[in-house]
Amino acid sequence: MAAIISAQNLVRDFRLGDVPVHVLKGISFEIERGEFVAIMGPSGSGKSTLMNILGCLDTPTSGSYTLDGISVGRLESDELAEIRSRTIGFVFQQFNLLPRTSALENVELPLLYTDTPAIERRQRALKALRAVGLAGREDHQPSQLSGGQQQRVAIARALVNDPGIILADEPTGALDSRMGLEIMAIFQQLNREKGITLTVVTHDAEIASYARRTLHFKDGKLQLDERVEHPRDAAADLRTNGGSQDPPLQGLPEEAADVRIAS
């Protein structure tokens, strides 16, 4: 399988006044298509900076970064926007949903910046909402949804462009452990059934244990590249831990199957 992400000797320096700060000190790794990778490290280890570069929100000071066969190193901001729009779905710690805007419209948002006709926008947004088990909540505004549901709307928004890769920055950081588990279950399912590459930044070893591979960072360097043959299954953990009070997730397999047929 071809690498969807290929980073060679990534360096990122910032300037704080006159003092240059070396945040990334030459990082090289590859992520294959369809992998589920957790990026771990203490704060200040450079994992957020790395995430910004992987997400094409930032460019490295030196080194090369190839995403889906495109060398991203020195692109203009509009070209980066194009790549973000086509290839990447973002999930943030604080969900970043538009307030006073329905779930459906929130999910449609990325499609507004592609030339997608209104009807197709709507269909794809509905499908993405169904895929995260939020069918029937299309008209709810973020304030009417729980934290876990809001994050699921955010995941639907990340999915709606059919991206090859989803980048999640502390996706469970603002949620309690049970809701965090739900999110991980959805990620695992998307990874397993749709073959979407997942990269999750977290400082929580519990969350990282659901990934098949964990990259440990420290002081701007890759310390350890750890692979697990059989990671934990979030859906199974949900069933054993706390029963099955949450109906949407129970309905998930059928919904997801529907998505698979449709796409």
Partner: protein
């Protein structure tokens, strides 16, 4: 184009989400545009009224009056002596190349009687040229001819006010009215002209052939049988007015045998000049009113900029998110620009409605004439769009050039 439509939709959605704020922001523009429309309307109405009054006097008019003369140190007022004659009027018309026509007039007050009705009015003795010169038209009947003047025919042309007071709704043509015990046949009625620039009712008048008027009604001047009260002169065009005045001056001094160095025994008044001064002062007032109102429009624009800047700061995370999910800088720029322009245009349209309503109210309640021109509306509309672009650009640019990373982290 399609991109722009998308931006417009996003912008409208954002404005909908913040309804109260959008409405308050628009209020500045609404007041600004309404003020401009109403003030320009009032100004234009005033100017137009003065123009209409000048039109009603007649165009390119000069009035020659018999002048004051002094005799043994006693100075007599203007018109105090009969120095101006019908022959002077003829001579001016014949010999001054810059003069088109002249109309000698005599005037006096008289009681007019028809049946059991009577009415006190101004009687003027004129020639048929008077009608041309004053731009009179006939509402009914005919004006008298030069033959009627030569034969001192007992014909009268009534102003509309006189006709109404004597005859009510009936047609006076062919009826006989008595003026100072002399019966006159009504030849016709003048089309009403309304008030003069000095507020006189120009329709409260009876026109008689000048010969008949002097001989039968007003009385012949004992000193000079051919004396007239004034001579109205029409220059061939507006530019020739000054030239015509010089020519008349020279001609009349020669005819009246006034030695160089002595005062004229007549005076010449350029009516157009007097009223043009009034008109230009009205225009200055209109421009001032418009300028003051424009300031409020600019203040409204600054209000938009202010709110848009607040909005950009408040929505920093939203902007970061939009950039992250694939919006380009120009998408963000056009979204915020469209928001600003939508606010200012919507404000402009409402402002136009309010302004038009206001100026109608002013003319209805305050009895001022107002004139809301299509031009003023078009300019206000355009100007409010420009205000949106001008004051919206800076906040929109600020939004578009946010760093997506910092915007997403913004608390």
């Amino acid at each position: 184009m399609k991109k722009l439509l998308t931006s417009a939709r996003i912008a409208l959605r954002a404005l909908q989400v913040n309804r109260t704020r959008s409405a308050l922001t628009m209020l500045g523009i609404i007041i600004g545009v309404a003020a401009v429309i109403a003030m320009v309307g009032v100004g234009a109405g005033a100017t137009e009224r003065i123009q209409a009054q000048i039109q009603s006097i007649g165009s390119n008019l000069i009035i020659v009056l018999p002048g004051s003369i002094s005799s043994n140190g006693v100075r007599l007022g203007s018109g105090g002596v009969a120095t101006l004659t019908i022959d002077d009027a003829k001579a001016i018309a014949d010999e001054c190349p810059s003069v088109a026509i002249t109309a000698p007039t005599v005037r006096g007050g008289a009681q007019v009687v028809y049946g059991s009705n009577n009415w006190a009015t101004v009687v003027q003795g004129v020639t048929p040229d008077y009608m041309t010169l004053r731009d009179y038209t006939m509402m009914s009947g005919q004006f008298f001819t030069s033959q009627d003047v030569d034969s001192s025919a007992k014909l009268a042309v009534l102003g509309e006010t006189v006709a109404r007071n004597l005859f009510g709704d009936n047609d006076p043509s062919g009826q006989v009215v008595i003026i100072k015990n002399v019966p006159f046949t009504v030849a016709g009625v003048l089309t009403p002209k309304g008030q003069s620039p000095t507020g006189q009712d120009q329709d409260d008048v009876i026109l008689l052939p000048i010969s008949t008027a002097t001989q039968k009604v007003l009385g012949v001047n004992k000193a000079n049988a051919k004396a007239v009260g004034s001579v109205m002169v029409q220059a061939i065009n507006p530019q020739a007015i000054d030239q015509a005045i010089q020519e008349m001056d020279a001609l009349l001094r020669e005819r009246h045998r006034i030695l160089p160095g002595l005062e004229d025994d007549f005076s010449v008044r350029n009516l157009t000049e007097v009223f043009a001064a009034q008109e230009s002062s009205a225009q200055v007032m209109a421009i001032l009113l418009g300028a003051i109102a424009s300031v409020s429009l600019i203040v409204g624009g600054i209000g938009i900029m202010n709110i848009m800047l607040v909005s950009v700061t408040e929505r920093t995370r939203e902007i970061g998110l939009r950039l992250a999910v694939g919006a380009k800088r120009r998408d963000i720029l056009s979204q915020f620009l469209v928001e600003a322009v939508t606010l200012s245009l919507a404000g402009g349209i409402i402002g136009i409605l309010v302004g038009v309503t206001a100026s109608f109210s002013i003319s209805y309640f305050a009895q001022w004439s107002t004139d809301v021109g299509v031009m003023a509306i078009a300019v206000s509309f355009l100007f409010s769009a420009l205000v949106g672009v001008f004051f919206g650009y800076y906040p929109a640019r600020t939004a578009a050039f946010l760093s997506p990373i910092e915007a997403l982290r913004y608390e």
